[in-house]
Structures are given as structure tokens and as C-alpha cells.
Amino acid sequence: MRRVLLVMTAVFVISLFAAGAFAEDFKLSIPLPLTGKQAKFGEMMKRSYEMAAEEINAKGGIKKKKIVLYFEDSGAKPETARAIVEKLIDVNKQPVIVGEYTSACAKAVAAVAEERKTPYLIVASADDDITRQHYKYVFRQNAVNAHYGDGVVDFLRRVVKPKTIAILYESSAFGTSGAEAMVKDAEKLGTRVLMKERYEAGSVDFRPLLSKVKAARPDVVYMVSYVMDASLLMKQIKELRVDAKLFAGGAAGFAIPEFIANAKDAAEYVISATLWTPQVKFPGAREFAEKYKKHYGDYPSYHGASAYSALYVLKNALDRAKTWTPDKIRDALKATNMKTVFGPIKFEDREGYQNQNFMDTLVIQVQKGAFETIWPAQYASKKYIYPIPSWRERR
């Protein structure tokens, strides 16, 4: 027993020193959820960071320094995420923080980063509030949740012109703020919200909810679901033959490859908001998506693309920063204006947000079992299919 303990301590101590052996490297530790319910996205982002680091190193690194990535599992727990970041700032003296995923953890990290005056680049946490706190050191590269649905709303306005809408959303910060944003947008469109219903994420049976939707006969069913609830919803919609002019999803669960893999033909014609697609015409996007697919078997969703380009944003800022102190890096990040696979990135103060990157959100549609970009027109890979056939006609 004592020997085991001794070995463990030794391993721990050695690992601490090992991390300090190569003074020439730029060591970057990234907190991510690698266990627990959110681990899937943590894993996808980890792979994407690794791909980006490899490419940057192959081209000479950042100011001739090699990036060495370490990943720390926060398990989507705010206390742990905070512990990691306290360690990075205080013990590792890391001048900049990148990472985390859930909004709860990002909020915990953002508060520490601001207090300790260390820049923090948020990659995929969507909760609106994070960049509305007048933080100076917190930057966000992905769109705020309130804007996730912009593309879909535009599509509704120009093409569908719905009179009524039903909103179903999961019980989480992401679902709640997505649903709230859609309620506001519907008001602007002159669309009546027939129902706005929350459900517990991970539910098995949505039929009671869906039979209510069916009876309400909305023109559009808009659903905000983080992960696989999306596919269960569509499968059960198909089974109950709930017909609507359009089924729309609010990113996340509707925009990951598993959605089609699980829902199969029930996913057909469903549109979804997304921040990025493999077909999008940003330089390097296609290459990144294909390379990811070659290694891991499937296309990445926008989470991966955002993580991948985050390292390039960081490289860009570090290249411009005279010295790598938190304040200089912060100023460099603030001045960022570059094109990435995730789209053009610029951190602006507007609409009550600070250091927020604003981007066009896209609309994808499942056509013949694959995601196609359909809106806005300049990004479209295929023309949208609308109106969609009823479930009865599809057999």
C-alpha cells in the first residue's frame, strides 16, 4: 500500500517537473469536460485543438516556439474548472486561458480571468450573459445564444412566413435562452407563439408533448435541444405524424452528425441553425473538415471548427503581442481582425456585449441523409427544399 502511494507521488512529482523541462515551448493547458455528460463535445474540441497545434508547429510554431498542449478535465463542474484556471494562472503562470465548454464553467472561469486580469478566449459557450458583464479580459469567438437563431429567423421571414410557431426547449441555460430569443424574434416576425414548453434533457418519451403540438397545429415547430433529444424528438414526431410546414432546430443537437445517424429518415428536411458547416466557403474550412473526418470518421460540428480556429486566433494575437504578458495579449486579442476557418473574427463592443465576435449564423437542412447549407444564399451548398412533404406522403 505504501509502495503504491510512493509510486503515485513519484509519478505526480515527475509529471510536474516534466512539464517544466522544455523551456523553449509554449505550454498551453486547456480546461475541457472530458468526462460526464458533456464529454462528447470536450473530446471533439480536444481533437480539433490538437490538429491546429500540429499544423502550427509544422509551420514553425508561434514566434519559433513550439505549442505544447495539455488538457485538464473539468468534468463540467464549475469548482473544478475554477481550480484548473487558478492553477494555470497562479502556478503555471500561463498568460492566457482558452477553453471550457459549458456555460456554467465558462462563467466560473470568466470571473476568475477578469479578477486576475488574464485574457480568456471563450470558444463554444453560448450563454448571453458572459459577455454582458463589462469584463475587459473575456473574449468570445462564437456567437451569443440570442443570435444563434438569426439565420433561421431570416429564413422564416423570407421563405416560410409562418403565422404560428411552437417552441420546445430543453431545461438548460442553452435551451432557455435559445427559446427566449426565438420568442422575441417571433414577435418581430408577427408570428404567434402557440406554445413554449420545456422538457428535461435526456427524456425518453416526448409523445405527450408532441401530441399537444399536433393538436395545436403550428406552422413551424422550433426545438432547442442540446444533444440526442433532437433525434428522439424527430423520431417521435415522425411516428405520431405531427405535420407542420417546417421543423427547425436551434443548433447543437440538430447540427451534429449523430442526429442523422440516429434519426435516419425522420431527420429528412429538418432545418437547423448552426454557426459553421463543412461546406462553408471560408478558406481552409473544407480541408479542416476532411482532415478531421479522415482521422475520426465523421465531420466535426461547429464546436470543432471553433476550437480549431481558436488556436489560430491565439497564434495571431501572440504574434502581434510584443511581450507575452496578460495585458499585452489582451490588447492584441482586442485588435484581432482575421479570417479563420470559422469565419472572420473581430471582437467588438456592441448591442450591450463586450469583446464579442459577431458572425453570420447559417441554416442547414438535412437532404438525402446529409447536411446541406441552405441559407444565407451566399453560403448555400444546395437550394432549400420547401414546402416539405407531410409524413403520410413520405412513405
Binding site: Y199, V204, S211, N262, K264
Partner: protein
């Protein structure tokens, strides 16, 4: 009541009954384990997760239908459960300790290990077995053309419901009619008396835990075609199993299935008429109510009837 309202009500009831079957199946293994040993097994859902990964592997490697993989996954889980009881739980149960609940740590630790191993082996990706009958259903309008309302009955959900009933009946038969089953019941009622009567209580516990695990394994195989799979899915199903166990009555198989249907219908009605966000509250309110007002669960109601008291 308009026909649209009627349709919603009937569809809700159908959904509730089918959901109940699934719940019963998930809970039946736990009711057996808890009935015999009075232990709180927090790794129940993780055991189901293991069975689901087995079913997934069989499907993706050999294209074996998940329903058929019951015959492989359940026996494997039976062995796993026996091993867990024999090497981990029995030693802890035997030692005197201040709080008998210390086995909780054991099952939590076990659940952590199982979920983490699944993450390491399969990554955290969401997996599924896309079978073509996943969204198949029978429709009322197919049988009755001029029906004013439309109802649907899911094919895979009905199958799991039927299998749940069959398993319940078989298990009930096993427990009441075979010697082994009688010994298990004797252990459940009074383990010390059973020991005096020559029942090998340790062995009965090992078999019970194996059976319970095998049953939840079967539940996993029936769940995977209609759900999906990832390493961390166990927790919420463990909770459902607790509710079924208490609502049905410890150790009662018939109680579990009736309890499952009652819970399923109650939850579905809550979802339709109050809001789906409140459905889990409904679930646990009924659970606390059963604990307090119906200590023996539904099984005690059945018993009272049977003896005419």
C-alpha cells in the same frame, strides 16, 4: 371534449402505458436486489449501460438485432453481477460497521469505474443502433379509415412492453414455483431464518444480484433501439428504478409492472396537462407519497385483496 382533445388524451395514455412497461423492465432488476438485500445499488444504471454497449457492439460488428442480443447481453450481465456480489458486496455486507449504508460508496465507485472504462474504450460519442423499425408504428386510420381521430402505437415500444410483461411473468413463476426461487424469497423475507432453514444465504445473494443485473441488461437491449447510448447515461435510469422499486413494493415483480404503468401514465399526464418540465417532479412526488402512504407498495394492495382482508 373535442375530438382533438380526445386524441391528445388517448395518445397520452397510450404513451404512458408503453413508457410504464419500459420503466418496469428497468426497475424489476433493482426490486429483486433491493428486496433480498435491502441495499441501495447506485450502479444499477451503469450496469444497463454496459449491456447497451454489448448490444451496440453486437449490432455494429455482426448486425445482430438488439432484441436478439438480449440472449447474449443478459447472461453476460448475470455473470458480471454475480462477480460483483461475490467479490465486492458480500465482503462488505459481512463486516460489522456503524452504518450499514457504507456499501453505497462501493456501488458509486463501481459506477464511476464502469462509466469511465466505457469512455476510455468507446469515447464519449453518442452511439445508436439504427434499426429500420425504430419509427415504425401502427395507426388507427390504417384499420379504421373514417376514424375521426388518429392514434399511433409504436412498434418497438410495444415489443419492449410485451417483453417486459413476459419477463415479469417468467420471473414471478421462477420465484414462486422453483426451489431456487423459493430460497431467494426466503432470504428476502428473513435472511437469518433462511440461514437456519439451511438456505445458503450468501449464494442466494450472489444469484440474486446476478439475476438483477441480467434483468437490467435485458432492459438495456430493449432500450437501445428507441434511445441512444453514451457512457454517462446510467444515473437517470437508476433513479427511475428506485421509484419503480418503491412504488411496486420491494421484491414484487407484479408490483413492478403495475407500478411502472401507474408511474408512466402519471408522468405522461403531467407532461400533457401541466408541462413536461414538471414531469420529474410528478415522478418523485408520487415516489415520496408511495414511501409514506403505501409502505409495501402496490404489492401490499394486491396481497390484501388476495387474502380478502
Amino acid at each position: 371534449m373535442t375530438s382533438a382533445q380526445l386524441e391528445v388524451l388517448l395518445q397520452t395514455l397510450i404513451a404512458g402505458v408503453l413508457l410504464g412497461g419500459l420503466y418496469a423492465l428497468i426497475g424489476i432488476g433493482m426490486t429483486l436486489i433491493m428486496g433480498v438485500m435491502k441495499i441501495i445499488n447506485l450502479a444499477h444504471g451503469e450496469l444497463m449501460m454496459v449491456a447497451m454497449y454489448i448490444a451496440y457492439l453486437l449490432f455494429s460488428l455482426f448486425h445482430l438485432d438488439p432484441y436478439l442480443s438480449v440472449f447474449i447481453a443478459a447472461p453476460l450481465l448475470f455473470l458480471l453481477g454475480m462477480a460483483i456480489q461475490k467479490f465486492l458486496i458480500n465482503p462488505v455486507l459481512k463486516v460489522e460497521s456503524i452504518l450499514p449504508e457504507n456499501q453505497v460508496i462501493l456501488t458509486v465507485g463501481l459506477g464511476m469505474v464502469l462509466a469511465n472504462l466505457a469512455t476510455i474504450i468507446f469515447t464519449s460519442d453518442y452511439l445508436s443502433t439504427p434499426v429500420d423499425y425504430a419509427t415504425k408504428a401502427w395507426y388507427l386510420s390504417d384499420f379504421w379509415r373514417s376514424s375521426p381521430i388518429e392514434l399511433s402505437l409504436s412498434y418497438p415500444w410495444s415489443v419492449s412492453f410485451l417483453i417486459a410483461v413476459v419477463i415479469t411473468l417468467c420471473l414471478g413463476f421462477f420465484l414462486t414455483k422453483t426451489d431456487l426461487g423459493k430460497s431467494i424469497r426466503a432470504t428476502a423475507q428473513d435472511s437469518e431464518a433462511a440461514l437456519l432453514m439451511g438456505v445458503n444465504v450468501d449464494r442466494m445473494r450472489v444469484i440474486t444480484f446476478g439475476l438483477g443485473s441480467g434483468l437490467v441488461g435485458a432492459a438495456g437491449c430493449l432500450l437501445i433501439p428507441i434511445y441512444y447510448l453514451y457512457p454517462d447515461l446510467g444515473g437517470q435510469f437508476t433513479l427511475i428504478a428506485f421509484v419503480i422499486t418503491i412504488l411496486g413494493g420491494l421484491g414484487s415483480t407484479v408490483g413492478a409492472i403495475i407500478g411502472g404503468v401507474v408511474l408512466g401514465v402519471f408522468e405522461s399526464l403531467t407532461a400533457t396537462y401541466i408541462g413536461m418540465g414538471w414531469a420529474p417532479v410528478g415522478r418523485f412526488v408520487i415516489f415520496v407519497a408511495a414511501l409514506i402512504f403505501l409502505p409495501g407498495g402496490i404489492a401490499s394492495l394486491l396481497q390484501r385483496k388476495r387474502f380478502g382482508r
